[in-house]
Symmetry: C2
Subunit: 349 residues, 2 copies
DNA sequence: ATGAAAGCGCTAACAG
DNA sequence: CTGTTAGCGCTTTCAT
């Protein structure tokens, strides 16, 4: 319900019978103003429920503290958690956080970065969509930049990532320790460094244990639920079916579970074991509960903000990389249940 | 990597040997400028990779198109989907979307609203945390306001909501049709109008079918996962245990499933049936797949933006309410499986 | 303690 | 076509 147009300081000044400077003072430095004048101005102020024009304020001062977050998909709870982590510490500092969803598109990502540049953001946290597409744009940023979760090709900025190599290795080792030898992997897009690292961790653990990795055991997904489903089905239909699958992100794990559920003669823990990367909300709801390599997601945001704030403070500070160790949540899905031999018969009745 | 401070139009003008106005022109109305001058200015422009100061632009013009979204919890995919829906249509219009997470706190919500007011947002989409706490603040908004998903006490603004009454009725009827008579509900906080409507829908369906609702069958949760878990456990331990439970939102349904899973002698479809409100990502992954009353979530955002844009166009337009019908996703969890009689014995071995 | 005035970086008439 | 000029709404000297 827009009222008459917006009130300016000039209006208020006129109302209170003072100069515009005085109004500004009661707003920003009340201690410099006579108590009685304050009263009068305040009365005028909320008689029109005055609200300062943020844009004008910003030009007159240096521009307000603003930090931006550009992420690939807000529907992914992983990324949403980064927002939450950042927001918690920024709010305490009185800094505004602006989030943009690039929808995994490099052009949207570039737009978002340019917007942040236009508004002179002091800091930018970027979860890149692609490891090199927007490199040039990022170079031009006048803000403190911190890259999160996925590496850029040029490692010139502060960085906060999960130790994906370690995580991939741990997940795989978990399966090996559970007695599996035929272990498949559903990894992410080649452009994703996290996916690559997890994959490399997998390879390293396999090799270290003298296990072979048949080509058809390596499926490259796109980190979305459907690819987990489709590739999961493909794996389950192999003649030499893997007994364990390592799924490289939350959404694909969901899809994989769906595929397993849809398969005849198989079930989680019955004929096929699973370890996923990333916590998923249903991990404790499936049977057996799902073992995952969980990322300290909110912590990613918290650390990113810390680095940003430090760099705003001291722009000359050396580049820093924070490697957050993943957390093993061992819940049971990494092993087959006793009855797994009888699967085919028991479920076909 | 902040470079020397930021370049202004004045600098560029000087570099190109033209007036500041000319620079502004090549940026905004190039057709009014000599081709050769354009070249020269453009050269200067990107020799310093100039980026206009958005704040200054905003004061000089009317202020750029800006629409805000204030929601209670971005980690809840339901709300995140509203963001996505809004973003899709706003991006097409070249309007910037600013999102703030109120974390379900009225004070944070008020802060966010005031920020939007300061930046002269042209439109605000509000998913309220409380039905009355910030009423006064919302009244003062100079923007086109559209309330989404939860009603405010004073129905003075455009509104887009799910038809919760209908949804509650449908969910309950589904259970009744499946043969249940002992039907419990886990509803949401009393302050939430959606929760109330769903609850009323439940009551109405029960009454209409001549079924009684024992007091202990009505549990009031807080829309978070844990309350679903705790209240679910409480229900399952009742002497006169309900055979069906209607859970009133996504998170609590997750908790409820967890409680069922943790219970001895019971399982989904074995002794207890469930219908949930809101789609959840695991709905198709549990066994039997979960029947839900799903909300067209992105559509909430799309409709909200439509109303906002219409009102910006014509502020005098009458208040509008859009009631989106929920969608029944009948998947099986609303009924008990044949073997449900033998549950207690079969699982106690 | 207060007002006048300059300026923040940019846009948009208004003259030539 | 281009430069001069007057704002936009606010903050902040600099006087008084």
């Amino acid at each position: 319900m827009p009222k008459s147009d917006q009130w300016t300081m000039k209006d208020v000044a006129q109302l209170a019978g003072v100069s515009i400077a005085t109004v500004s003072r009661v707003l920003n430095h009340p201690e410099q103003v006579n108590r009685k004048t304050i009263e009068r101005v305040k009365a005028a102020l909320d008689s029109v429920s005055y609200s300062p024009n943020g844009w004008a304020q910003a030009t007159a001062r240096t521009g307000p503290p603003l930090v931006g977050l550009v992420l690939p998909d807000i529907l992914n709870p992983f990324f949403a958690a980064v927002y939450v982590g950042m927001n918690e510490v920024l709010r305490a500092q009185g800094i505004t956080l602006w989030m943009a969803d690039s929808q995994n598109r490099v052009d949207y990502e570039r737009e978002a970065l340019e917007t942040l540049q236009r508004y002179r953001a002091q800091g930018i946290v970027l979860i890149p969509t692609h490891s090199s597409a927007n490199l040039a744009t990022v170079y031009k940023m006048d803000a403190a930049v911190c890259v999160v979760d996925r590496k850029l090709q040029d490692n010139a900025w502060d960085l906060v990532v999960i130790d994906n190599l370690l995580g991939g290795r741990q997940a795989t080792q978990l399966l090996i320790d559970a007695g599996h030898t035929r272990i498949a992997i559903i990894t992410g897009p080649e452009a994703s460094t996290s996916a690559n690292d997890r994959y490399r961790g997998y390879l390293s653990a396999m090799e270290q244990n003298g296990l072979t990795v048949p080509e058809e055991y390596v499926k490259v997904g796109d980190f979305k639920q459907f690819s987990g489903f489709a590739l999961g089905q493909a794996l389950l239909q192999l003649p030499e079916r893997p007994t364990a699958i390592f799924s490289c992100n939350n959404l694909m794990t969901m899809g994989l579970l769906e595929a397993i559920r849809a398969s005849s003669g198989l079930d989680l823990g019955l004929g096929v074991a699973v370890v996923g990367f990333d916590e998923i909300p249903i991990a404790t709801l499936v049977k057996p509960p799902l073992t995952v390599v969980a990322s300290p997601v909110k912590e990613l945001g918290v650390q990113a903000v810390r680095l940003i704030l430090e760099r705003i403070e001291n722009p000359e500070k050396g580049r820093e990389t924070v490697l957050l160790p993943p957390q093993l949540m061992i819940r049971g899905s990494e092993r087959l249940t006793k009855s797994s031999q009888s699967v085919t018969t028991s479920s076909s009745q």
